[in-house]
């Protein structure tokens, strides 16, 4: 009984908007076209999504972006965390310093990266030509492959510190005597990493991956600023596609259906993670 107010609040701020969105998604509701009325059309919006190649392409782009950027962030972040976990002078300062990219608002960071890659005289082109990787400056944003480069780099640059810090927090919970015991038994560093650090880091890894995957699936501002989803729509993520349907074209019904689909996907992913890694959030290991 005592939890009733809490449940009511959750219902009000979480369930109600979600229910409203689902209800809206069952209608044709085009704000720009009042002559169409607002008829109930059942699952037609979902059928349109299923048959829309742009949606499937956007889903593919989102998955690609999420997998590649998280893989890089995780490896780099783990490396950084292990380095920062050692005791050295100025450790506090270094820990604060690595957080700087994370502290910059995404839109600003995206703009910075766009300036670096934008023109043929941009810093990225100048650097790569000097080093000899490129023969001549290229226009990064008109080819799909090259357009992804600044997007992924910007995300890795910005989010690795966050990953590193989460992992570092996990590392600090590991009992140091385990390493001492392993060292006495003659285990080398690699063995220690595989059999002590990684297993005990599992909860922290899980939390990190959940956060990052969900973030990755909702990526919007970075790509909106950097490529706008172009060239064509070949770097467009689902969130940008939804934004377009909902706020540019003011197709409330269809946009709501898209939101519901994204919600279902991210929710499913979160469940999968919890199952796959065999950890209960906030509870002890199974």
């Amino acid at each position: 009984m005592l939890v009733t107010p809490a449940l009511a609040v959750i219902a009000l701020i979480a369930i109600f908007p979600l229910g409203w969105t689902v209800w809206e998604s069952l209608h044709m509701h085009e704000l720009r076209m009042p002559w169409l009325g607002k008829p109930f059309i059942g699952l037609d919006n979902y059928a349109e999504i299923a048959g829309d190649p742009r949606f499937w392409a956007a889903l593919g782009h989102t998955a690609f972006f999420t997998v590649v950027s998280i893989a890089l962030e995780f490896l780099l972040g783990l490396f950084l965390a292990l380095a920062m976990n050692r005791v050295f002078r100025g450790r506090g300062f270094v820990r604060a310093a690595v957080l700087v990219p994370w502290a910059i608002p995404t839109v600003v960071a995206a703009l910075l990266w766009r300036f670096m890659f934008e023109s043929q005289g941009g810093i990225a082109n100048a650097l790569l030509v000097d080093v000899g990787i490129l023969d001549q400056p290229i226009v990064w944003f008109i080819k799909t492959t090259t357009a992804w480069v600044p997007v992924i780099l910007a995300d890795v640059w910005k989010t690795t510190p966050f990953v590193a810090l989460l992992l570092l927090a996990g590392l600090q919970n590991i009992d140091l005597t385990l390493y001492e015991a392993a060292a006495v038994d003659g285990a080398n560093g690699w063995w220690q990493l595989r059999h002590i650090t990684l297993p005990l880091l599992k909860p922290a890894i899980l939390v990190t991956l959940i956060f990052r995957t969900l973030d990755g699936f909702r990526v919007f501002d970075l790509i909106y600023v950097l490529t706008g989803g172009g060239p064509g729509t070949s770097t467009e993520p689902v969130a940008l596609y939804t934004f377009n349907a909902l706020l540019q074209n003011l197709r409330f019904g269809y946009g709501s259906a898209l939101s519901v689909v994204i919600f279902a996907i991210t929710f499913g992913l979160a469940l999968l993670y919890m199952k796959g890694l065999g950890v209960r959030l906030g509870g002890e290991q199974r």
């Binding site: 043929q120 226009v139 944003f141 706008g228 064509g232 706020l247 074209n249």
Partner: protein, 431 residues
């Protein structure tokens, strides 16, 4: 709450209510109008001055300037939200040239026929852009038009057709110390790409929609137009690949710094580039209408602002009086003098006050406006444009062949027409 506080609260509430009622009375005595339009900087000052003059001449009407975002997309979104809520404010809406059909079909603005507006005084293209189902829905306020900028020191005579433009550009580029780029335009994936495209399309004799509102954008003329644009990028290479990420300002910077022979841009670029302190091309450029190709005619994209009356306005007659005043010759000339925006009345281009006003090439501008073509006048323009932007960009970055991209655009636009019931709407409007 103590008792005193409760009493104070009710007293305050009553005062507010009384004040509100008083406002209602004031409305009965005369009418209060809310005018929403560009209210920033010099533009805002001109509008305020004109509104004050109007109120002196019409003491029974009070006008307030209601600020709306200067960004077109944001203003559009705001208007759509208000009108969906049937708000009567603002009474007068400033519409972008591609919105009129949408607002008219939605029933959000009033047809102006009953006020007998002086239609014949305005450029035909501006009237066409504001006409839906045979009725005029907004009065053109000022006009924007696509122009070809040319470096007169490199190319003394204006090109008579597109092929000649390519030749002239190549010749000027290959001169020792010649500019890096031959022709710069707006090719990023945004509305500006469509304005560039309709100029090429018209030059080759193509259209996006025909008279019946059916898609014809995958016809051979359109394919030739896109192929020509692609050839500028990958064949003759007079246009740098960078233009595929460029908007108006990037093109202007390139031209203003002396890096381009030709540029496609709006009239706004004239003034900043005439300033010899910041422009390397001051006094060394001229404007002309975009040239035609074989089988088509010289075509300029049409932009600009219009004024329309909110359907839910309580005083439409007063609103029309204000619109008529603001779009009268005197006010248009004042506006042109103050902020350099082009009048929509063709007769004013011979007015000595206008010609004395600014360093604007009025004759060439008039020629370009006379060759202007509105973008498709249809209530679903916005979504149609998005489809075209994507498919054109795909063709220009070579993700798709021109015919393939245009077929895909035509197919998707056709599905859009079907989904939005445009054919039925057009039939009903035609009755």
């Amino acid at each position: 709450m103590t008792r005193e506080r409760v009493i104070a609260f009710f007293a305050a509430a009553t005062m507010l209510l009384l004040a509100a009622c008083d406002g209602g009375n004031a409305k009965k005595r005369g009418s209060t109008l809310k005018f929403s339009g560009s209210g920033l900087g010099a533009e805002g000052r001109v509008v305020s001055r004109q509104i004050e003059r109007f109120m002196r001449l019409n003491p029974d009407i009070r006008v307030e300037l209601q600020q709306t975002p200067d960004d077109a997309t944001q203003r559009h979104q705001l208007y759509v939200q208000w009108l969906n809520a049937r708000a009567g404010n603002p009474d007068i809406l400033q519409l972008d040239v591609v919105w009129t059909a949408e607002f008219a079909a939605a029933g959000w603005i009033l047809p102006l026929g009953r006020f007998k507006p002086p239609v014949a005084d305005f450029f035909p293209a501006t009237v066409e852009a504001n006409t839906w189902a045979g009725e005029l829905y907004a009065l053109p306020w000022f006009v924007d038009v696509g122009l070809l900028y040319r470096r007169t020191d490199l190319v003394p005579v204006e090109p008579s057709n597109l092929d000649e433009l390519v030749k002239q550009a190549r010749a000027a580029m290959s001169r020792p110390g010649g500019p890096r780029y031959g022709f710069v335009w707006q090719g990023a994936r945004y509305e500006g790409l469509i304005t560039t495209f309709v100029e090429y399309l018209g030059a080759f004799g193509g259209r996006i929609l025909d008279e019946r509102g059916e898609v014809v954008v995958n016809r051979p003329e359109a394919v030739r137009a896109v192929t020509f644009m692609r050839d500028e990028l990958y064949g003759s290479r007079i246009a740098p690949l960078d233009v595929l990420t460029w908007h108006e300002e990037e093109a202007r910077f390139a031209f203003q710094n002396g890096n381009a022979v030709f540029m496609r841009n709006w009239p706004y670029a004239v003034e900043p580039m005439s300033d010899s302190a910041s422009s390397r091309v001051a006094g060394k450029y001229a404007v002309s209408p975009m040239p035609a190709a074989q089988g088509g005619r010289s075509t300029a994209a049409l932009g600009g602002a219009q004024l329309a009356i909110n359907r839910y306005s309580e005083s439409p007659a007063a609103a029309y009086r204000l619109i008529a005043f603001i779009t009268a010759p005197e006010q248009m000339i004042e506006r042109a003098q103050a902020v350099g925006q082009y009048p929509t009345r063709s007769a004013l281009y011979d007015d000595p006050r206008l010609r004395a006003a600014r360093s604007i090439p009025w004759d060439q501008a008039k020629r370009a406006i006379e060759s202007a073509t509105p973008r498709p006048v249809t209530p679903i323009y916005n979504e149609m444009s998005e489809i075209l932007q994507i498919e054109l960009h795909r063709a220009l970055v070579r993700q798709a062949e021109p015919q393939e991209a245009l077929n895909s655009a035509a197919k998707r636009i056709d599905a859009l027409i079907e989904r939005t019931g445009m054919r039925r709407l057009a039939r009903e409007a035609g009755k």
